[in-house]
Amino acid sequence: MLNRVLLLCLALVWTVSVSVTAQDVAEGGIDTLSLPLPAPAQNVVAANHVYDDGEVIDVNWDKSPDDPENILGYIVYRAETDGAFDSIRTLLPGETFFSDDNVEDEIPYKYQIGVIGENGVSLSGESELAVATWELFNFGMWNTFLWMFVFCGSVIGFIISAKSGRKLYIRKIGGLEALEEAVGRATEMGRPILFIPGILDMDDVQTLAAITILGKVARVVADYDSKIRMPVSRSLVLTAARETIKESYTSAGRPDGYNEDMVQYVTDEQFGYVAAVNGIMVREKPATCLYLGAFFAESLILAETGNSIGAIQIAGTARPGQLPFFVAACDYTLIGEELFAASAYLSEDPKQLGSLKGQDVGKVIAMFGLLVGTAAMTLSVAWQVPATQWILDLMNNLFTTN
């Protein structure tokens, strides 16, 4: 062990000194080393990385024949057309590829690979000059583009078809059916409804979903003449929530029922917010608590406190880690996708329901991919059916990002 460490240290000293004098060694100072060196790497090829912003050059090489027993690693050297070589990265044995993402565009670079042995570094030949260039369209993402096109197309298609009056069936979603009942109960009891939109800001999609649902909930609240209480932890959410509730009250025909104090900013600090919400819960005893949005550790603190005051609780989040607590402690839970579908479902607007149909098309595509892909893999790998290999390749091409 100690020997190995010592040798490694030695190799490192070598690395440093060689990287300084790489050019000399390459040009003929070979005799300075009397001990045998590992065989150098071969066929160093540098090429522009395609479909990017002109920031990457890919370098490939063939392994040294001494890899992996007698070498400690590789060093990548780089130089401009007439410049000296600098070491830019050390790699472990077995590597044959390096993406240099620290290049200026339009400047040609050449590369050289050093193999670190126990007695020193042996250098490969230089690669051809390569220039990083940018491309306008990322053809590497053709499959993403294709699926995006198909998926968005089907969403929009269903929206148009719904607009033209076609009836669309959407199954009942328990948690959302219960929403109106929960608001009704709060009205009967004369207690407020607590709406918690998660703890992230407006730049999180779950918060966006929460705000869109808030619009529908506030509408029901306005219709029932109930009270809504909404402490928030982000200022932008405060602004957005106020606009949303105001709009809901206006469209319910009760603009006078809206009051700015329905929404209150507490603090950005996660647990400071939770402490305050807990306080609000035990003191004001809301009859219904809605937790919709991005939740982290606070999910169970909120849900258990809500439980201890006997509130009806409906929760929804896309975070798998918090779902079990909501499932256990709340009356209804919207799981993942259901959270994002909720506002469309609640709107009962046929156009928005159409978008849910479009989502199903996406699921059909995914299920189709899974089914064909796994079938092809089973046939080609497990039972060696040669004809299915191309199907497997096709599926992999269709569902692999670059």
């Binding site: 069936y169 407006m202 999609v205 966006l208 603090t267 550790a297 899974l370």
Partner: protein, 209 residues
């Protein structure tokens, strides 16, 4: 000062824990301290980090190619404040519209690629240990579970018959996921309290070796 700090922290810790018994004076005090101090802290961090460092230093740096963009951001920010002026309050919707549009646009792609797309691709990729009987079973179960889970989320069809059966299987897989997360979480939560108790009994009272 250090001793005072420890005593203060201990007092605040006990104050929060006392909420478990019931809402009380000490908890209310801790809560209001917490809200006031932390709101101030976050504002200060935002102020220096975003307004001073990102904006001010950004626009005064003549080499910064994004200078022009920063001014647009600044203008949008100022529009946000028009909410305070009754007449042109509607201007505050512009930055809001901007943020909603940008978040929707940006995450539409991110989620589509790294959630939907990549996950389908990963399921039909050859696992590294493919070959043993166990790996066949695991591979099949992952595919089956993902498939039936998707069936559960299907909106267009009622959960009846074969379709309903598959959806049911999907729920079971989801339940295993939830159970696994729960099992993991329990452990983590216990360690958190350990940290606090270690502070109270170790650092403060000095009872632990």
């Amino acid at each position: 000062m250090e001793t005072f700090g420890i005593w203060l922290a201990a007092l605040l810790t006990i104050g929060i824990i006392s909420f478990l018994y019931k809402d009380n004076v000490l908890y209310k005090a801790c809560e209001s301290i917490f809200v006031g101090i932390s709101a101030g802290y976050w504002f200060i961090t935002y102020y220096w980090d975003n307004l001073y460092r990102k904006f001010y230093l950004g626009v005064t740096d003549m080499d910064n190619p994004h200078r022009f963009f920063l001014w647009i951001a600044f203008a949008l920010g100022v529009m946000m404040l028009t909410r305070l002026i009754g007449k042109i309050g509607w201007l505050s919707r512009w930055p809001l519209a901007f943020i909603v549009g940008a978040t929707a646009g940006l995450y539409m792609m991110t989620y589509f690629v790294s959630n939907a797309f990549v996950q389908v691709g990963a399921t039909i990729k050859l696992p590294p240990d493919f070959g043993s009987v166990g790996s066949y079973i695991s591979f099949g179960m992952i595919a089956l579970g993902t498939f039936s889970g998707l069936v559960y989320f299907f909106f267009s069809k009622e959960h009846k018959g074969v379709f309903g059966g598959t959806a049911k299987l999907g729920i079971w897989f989801l339940m295993v996921t939830f159970g696994a997360s729960f099992g993991y979480t329990v452990m983590s939560r216990m360690s958190l309290m350990l940290g606090r108790l270690d502070f109270l009994f170790g650092e403060w009272l000095g009872m632990i070796n």
